[in-house]
Amino acid sequence: MVSQTTKIMIVVAALAALAIIVPNTNSFVILLATRALAFAILVMSLDILLGYTGLASLGQAAYLGVGAYMTAILATKYQFGLGYDFWLVVVFGILGGAALAAVFGLLAIRASGTYFLMITLALGQCVWGLAYRWNSLTGGDNGINLRQRPKFGIDLANEVTFFYLVFAFFAVSLLAMYVLVRSPFGRSLTGIREQELRMKILGYNTWLHKYIAFIIAGGFGGLSGVLWAHTAGIVSPENVVLTTSVDALLMAVLGGAGTLVGGVIGSFIVFGLREYLSTLVPWWQYVLGGVYVLTILYLPSGLMGIPERIRQRRLASSNKAADSKKLAAAS
């Protein structure tokens, strides 16, 4: 087993490489990387629920939506958040996401497993419904165009500067979430995922733990929304539609749930396939669907689980003869 320090070193090295390589590529790649990073914050927030608490949410896009719509509405209707007050918008976005999660959590946390999946889907659709039809506020189907990015000492209209800003937010979020899941609180979340009943018996208020985790995830979702709004330059109901939530879930599982960085890898792969491969071949969706199907069938612990899979395979190879006999008998 690779030690924890080594793992951290690898992640830090990979991030450093990302920060150095990306700005030296062409600007389309910078744009894609920026998008993938902004979205990765949402995927990681979902991973706190999915990987560490055992709650699979199908409505995570709602929090991205709140952050993004807040940013867009403040910027276009009130010219707010385009200077140093951008930092206030960041705070508002986080609080907005957290507040929405605090409301939704009251409804959702009672359920578990598939029912949790369904209720978060329903709540996500509520947000979509409002974004889609509440024309006077959200612009409905047209969405809201953000015509400029904030300027405060630095000009975020520059793609490289903006990439670094998103990168910084991403790195800080990763660190914060890492600290969170390693904290005693995070450990009890994992405990709840594994053995909820036992944690209850041990005197933990499991509902409260889950509720707080849900709110924290919402807050990070809101943050990713603020960044997303300025990354994409347009906010529309497309950002809160069911498939966006599904995407986030798939990215987390693709990379490996319960690893945080797995979600980041998933985000990069899916953005790469969807927005880069789609410019090369028209059948990219087969690749995307195929990647999902194969990952789920063969790599339940995601790409991050590959080393583990290989080690298990080595261990199991001695039992293989017995296995294949059993197979033959079954077919």
Binding site: A14, N26, A33, N145
Partner: protein
């Protein structure tokens, strides 16, 4: 254990590898004219996207991909009918493919999202479909590299409102797709209609992409003389059918895209007699159009829609400019200027582009009829031209300065005074 390390590193660095590959391709720039083309080739508007690409491609094929001595490289990107996808794709075209210009964009909202990209990247945007009014009206100064070869949403509907008055209609109910294009079409019709004494007595806004009009049709006011509808994509097919099934007896008028040929062949006989305006009709009885319709139909198996014609003509206009420059791209400013000065005889009729960079062209009032045309054997639905308003500009019967002083048409503008 190093094996595991490498593997992890490799996965993380995959993005980087991708990036290096990308830089390599963009380095190869030859003497060619690179045109980025944005059309929805998947999703709900895929059919329209195909018409757009086919129209442009047909012209390219006719001139063998050669614009005045330079080879054209057409790079088609799928914008999926979503403004934010369009923005990503256009950046790919500009930043990676280094296109000289980009063409297309379907929805009005997509047009509004794409225009700022042309400004910030100093790349020509030839708006061949997206009809968003303000691109060539109040917002024009913001977009120096934008020029339109199609129409503004309200352009055909100003004279159409006038025409509706002449038919003796007094009260009309408007039902239109709930997004920028719908507002501008209905707004244009309302201004034209109310300027000559008509009254819009109700406005209904079903969301873009509505298929079940069950909830909306019964709310149509009974005392109206006629219904004005603006439908886009699959909506156009369902609305007349459901309206007829609900027992409607009122005359039906349609906005430009409601009875366009992209959907007309799939329609039933209930649409016979419905009237709509546009700058093109496949049934336009000119030798030029007859040849175009036949060639297009032979090649793609269907009658061209306005989306086909508009992109065919856009290709023609770009060709004209490139011809004058002997195949050398003159730079974005000069290109826009020269395209603006062009006077072309197109399939749809004579076209010049006004000082606000929007075409001045004929507007045809078209009535759906079932008949034989151009020597085809079967009885089919055609948009017969019943009246032509020649050389209509984007302000129609109104004065430019007064027009520009009023806000852009919106959900609530012009206000519904008679609702």
């Amino acid at each position: 254990m190093t094996g595991n390390l490498l593997r992890r590193l490799k996965t993380v660095l995959l993005g980087g590898a991708l990036a290096v590959g990308a830089t390599a391709t963009s380095a190869q720039q030859q003497e060619e004219l690179r045109i980025g083309f944005l059309a929805p080739t998947t999703g709900i508007f895929a059919q329209i996207g195909k018409d757009m690409v086919d129209g442009f491609q047909m012209y390219l094929d006719e001139v063998k991909g050669d614009f005045g001595g330079v080879k054209v490289r057409l790079i088609v990107e799928d914008e999926q009918g979503k403004p934010d996808t369009a923005v990503t794709k256009v950046r790919k075209l500009i930043l990676q493919d280094k296109v000289h210009m980009f063409v297309g964009g379907l929805l009005a909202s997509t047009g509004y999202a794409l225009a700022p990209e042309s400004t910030s990247n100093k790349t020509v945007y030839v708006v061949s479909v997206a009809a968003a009014d303000d691109l060539t009206q109040r917002d024009l100064p913001k977009y120096p590299y934008l020029i339109r070869t199609s129409w503004t949403s309200s352009q055909p509907h100003h004279p159409f409102g006038q025409w509706a008055c002449e038919q003796g209609y007094k009260k009309i109910v408007a039902i239109g797709a709930d997004y920028a294009f719908g507002y501008e079409v209905v707004g244009g019709f309302q201004r034209g209609f109310e300027a000559c004494g008509g009254q819009i007595v109700q406005k209904i806004w079903p969301p873009l992409g509505t298929k079940d009009f069950g909830p909306y049709i019964p709310t149509i006011k009974a005392d109206a003389d006629a219904i004005f509808s603006l439908m886009v994509g699959p909506m156009a097919l369902q609305f007349p059918k459901q309206l007829a099934a609900a027992g409607n007896k009122k005359p039906v008028l349609g906005g430009g895209t409601s009875y366009d040929e992209f959907v007309l062949p799939a329609m039933g006989d209930e649409v016979i007699g419905h009237v709509s305006p546009l700058q093109y009709s496949a049934a336009l009885d000119t030798p030029k159009n007859a040849a175009f319709v036949k060639a297009y139909r032979t090649k793609y198996g269907k009658v061209p829609s306005y989306y086909s014609e508009s992109n065919y003509t856009s290709a023609q206009m770009i060709h004209e400019v490139m011809k004058a420059n002997k195949g050398k791209f003159p730079g974005p400013e000069a290109f826009v200027k020269q395209l603006n000065a062009l006077k072309v005889d197109t399939i749809r009729g004579p076209v010049v582009i006004d000082e606000m960079r929007n075409p001045v062209q004929n507007i045809y009032i078209k009535k759906v009829e079932k008949k034989k045309m151009f020597g085809y054997e079967k009885d089919e639905l055609w948009n017969t031209v019943i009246k032509t308003y020649p050389n209509v500009n984007q302000f129609g019967q109104f004065k430019k300065d007064e027009f520009l002083a009023t806000p852009v048409y919106d959900r609530n503008y012009p206000p519904c005074k008679h609702c």
